[in-house]
Amino acid sequence: MQSFTYERAQTPAEAAKAAAERENAKFIAGGTNLLDLMKLEIERPTHLIDVGRLGLKEIEDTSDGGLRIGTLVSNTALSAHPRVRRDYAVLTRAIQAGASGQLRNKATTGGNLLQRTRCPYFYDTNMPCNKRQPGAGCAAQGGYSRQLGVVGVSDSCIATYPGDMAVAMRVLDAVVETIAPDGTERRIPIADFHRLWGDTPHIENALQPGELITHVTLPRPIGGRHVYRKVRDRASYAFALVSVAAVLQPDGRGRVAFGGVAPKPWRMPEADAELPRGAKAVVGRAFADARPTEHNRFKIALAQRALAGILSDAPAQQEG
């Protein structure tokens, strides 16, 4: 690990300001992803700003019936919150489908949104990777790409966003709140938070340098049946090959987002609209522009079957 200086921030505004003032600085909260990458020298910050003591661990009701989640709320605490379990069960299900108990105790809400891809070529520093080193090339294309992206990918990068929590937040239309180094606050809809790779796969989200996530807000509950189905190589503690987050209403309408297939939680309003016509119609629309490799073509069929399984479950068998 490269050596670094360390400071403990006292307020969100101070943290954001400090990040802008120091070259090559990074925030650290749970650290479960950042320290892993620092040990491999994929991440090499020379200054760490510990935001772990900023408070921001509260989950509060909003005036319109929604929920405002402090960025430092752990994955465990968020998934176990009584209102999340009752009104946003797809979020509890998604969080509990990811990582291990030890990691969920440490991982934070904001940090989880920022976790980086698990593409094996990103992790292998002997391989060219446009995300690690812009312009170096992409070893994944033509390489072993079974786990990698099928839709929204580019010639520069076919990595996926690996998380589960954000896929559920995408169907719930969450909003990410931030503070910038100059003290400006803004609200970013989760649909716009993660970027498609395009030809700059090293830029993964909408945050500007030094901008710090402070909260994630969930709009008023929308009812319905909440389901998160994750297909992976092990029954527990593995990243998704494909995951499906869905909120389904009794009249057949609903919302659906896919994980493990794209640079971001993959949801299209046009695909949501196909839900009453079944899984084939939804997946046909959501993956119309897919460009899979020979190794990961199976993910499209898998997504359709996972969704079909969810839709065929009788509403009486509440999974949410």
Partner: protein, 211 residues
């Protein structure tokens, strides 16, 4: 073709060759490393106070020292084990302020004032924690390397179930959590045992859960 003919290089030869190739590979790097060292001759260090198993410990540490290395190398508590050092195996599991975490994926400096409980703090050879006694009774280990992490995790899992934290296999999110075999297996998935003592670990946990 015999094994010897297919692999004519002896193990000793491979090790020697491996060392040589590492040395050669290091050549271009040595300059880079020298420059990095010059840039920062003295790696930044910080003071941190930890409460470890009820004892206050004041440490002066390189910022890079993980909680795991602080425990093992600086405090001398070697019960907590280093397996993968990347949060995948769970051998380094300890409790911080009552919650289990991977001590390898946390910097010591981030734990100023925190209460750390390691396997040494759970029980002693003369006064075993009930979970330690249950692991002995049910043969919940073979080589024992993952065991301190398994036991810390197991103790925390039963507390998490009691606190009503749901899991991936919980059917009803609104009902009380039960310490079923399925629940314990799912919740222990962050602790790997290469000897495969899993079923006995689950039995030890069930024994403790039943009181």
């Amino acid at each position: 073709m015999s094994e010897a003919r297919r692999f004519p290089v002896s193990r000793r030869g491979v090790i020697a060759g491996g060392t040589a190739s590492v040395a050669a590979a290091n050549l271009p790097w040595s300059d880079v490393k020298a420059q990095q060292v010059e840039r920062s001759v003295e790696p930044p260090s910080v003071s941190v106070s930890l409460n470890i198993n009820g004892e206050e410990r004041d440490l002066e540490l390189d910022t890079r020292v993980t909680l795991l290395d602080a425990l093992r190398e600086h405090v001398g508590l070697t019960g907590t084990k280093k397996g993968c050092d990347h949060g995948q195996c769970g051998a380094c599991t300890v409790m911080v302020n009552g919650e289990r975490v991977n001590s390898c994926l946390s910097l010591a400096v981030m734990h100023e004032g925190d209460e750390i409980t390691t396997i040494e703090g759970l029980g002693t050879p003369d006064a075993l924690h009930p979970m330690q006694a249950a692991f002995v009774k049910h043969d919940g280990y073979q080589c024992g390397y993952c065991t301190p992490g398994q036991i810390c995790s197991a103790v925390a899992v039963l507390q998490e179930i009691e606190r009503g934290i749901p899991s991936h296999v919980t059917d009803d999110l609104l009902a009380d959590m039960q310490p079923t075999n399925m629940e314990m297996r799912e919740r222990m998935s962050g602790n790997i045992c290469r000897c495969g003592a899993y079923s006995n670990i689950a039995e030890a946990m069930a024994d403790v859960a039943e009181g």
